[in-house]
Symmetry: C2
Subunit: 220 residues, 2 copies
Amino acid sequence: MQFGANEDFKRYPRDFKRDEGLLKKEKVDLLFYPSVKEIYSEDYKTYVEVTELSSILCGKSRPGHFRGVTTVVLKLFNIIKPDIAVFGEKDYQQAVIIQKMVKDLNLDIKIIIGPIVREKDGLAISSRNIYLSPEERVSATILYQSLKWARNSFYKENIKSPEYMLNQMRQMIEAKGGMVDYIAIVDKNDFSPVKFIKKDDRILLAVFFGKTRLIDNIAI
Amino acid sequence: MQFGANEDFKRYPRDFKRDEGLLKKEKVDLLFYPSVKEIYSEDYKTYVEVTELSSILCGKSRPGHFRGVTTVVLKLFNIIKPDIAVFGEKDYQQAVIIQKMVKDLNLDIKIIIGPIVREKDGLAISSRNIYLSPEERVSATILYQSLKWARNSFYKENIKSPEYMLNQMRQMIEAKGGMVDYIAIVDKNDFSPVKFIKKDDRILLAVFFGKTRLIDNIAI
């Protein structure tokens, strides 16, 4: 059995009771919670991959990650046979990859992208935030601040140079102790880097605070 | 757009009118005949692969071939939403790979394997047979003869050595001018080579007569 995202999966914070409680509050009718064994047989061999989109940005830092995501999502789609499925905008690359898979594989499923939910100070809500130290938690607010700064500098100061913007953002983030994995300003559909920033381009970033890797993004 | 089997696809003999006529005779209700453009958009990116099984035997001679097969079959499954689908036993590796994909991806489709249909002299019927010269057409009957010889030598003479059997088959085929791509005696499910031949193992072969590559197989 190959399982690219396996190591990553093990480190992923899981709290079934808490998740179950949150879903009950939302009056969810059905919660499907299969074991890894039920999903991946010992002689499992079949993988689906959205080429090109899966090997860049987060895919570069986490080889095999998106192959694992698309494979398990396709399996869940085939088991559940949903009419609609909702994915979070915080994992923007994941959402675009899944939309592309659905289109390419002729799946009859409507993908809805749920907007990013943020803490009061702007930090994108993530299960990983619990790993941040109190100091890191404060510093991490720079991510959304830097994204808003970039968006504003396009609309208010007419800045169109991705190099300038990326440099400024990197300096802002590093000044708070963030270790940049990547910051990119890309086409919203195919993730190709843009030469001049325009409306609807997407800024994506992944930054370590200590050992915790956080991601965030914003639309220009 | 990537398209591993593209070159191969172009060389594949296609006769729509003839196929349509044959299907009408069988009282087929619906014939789905999409164009390549409808199936593969210009920015097509998503591929499904059954690892391990797809890179050996025919997959070794035709890199990317089975990835193309599984991808288009999955797309057709998603478009048609069939309850059952029939694949021919002549393409035994293809049939096993598709069965594995269906199982691994939790597809709710029953795969039926249609038995090999042969000419009176034993040659497996294939659209490629039209490419054989009259002499090659006669020589090609050695394929099924050699497979039957191997099966008989197991049951009647208790021969269990794959090396011996493969050597004998190779000699029989080469004596008729066949250029062996591969002959293999393998486990019927995972295609691993067997050390001692037993019931239900599978003999698979691919042989060129002139420029025409023919395949055939038999169960022990």
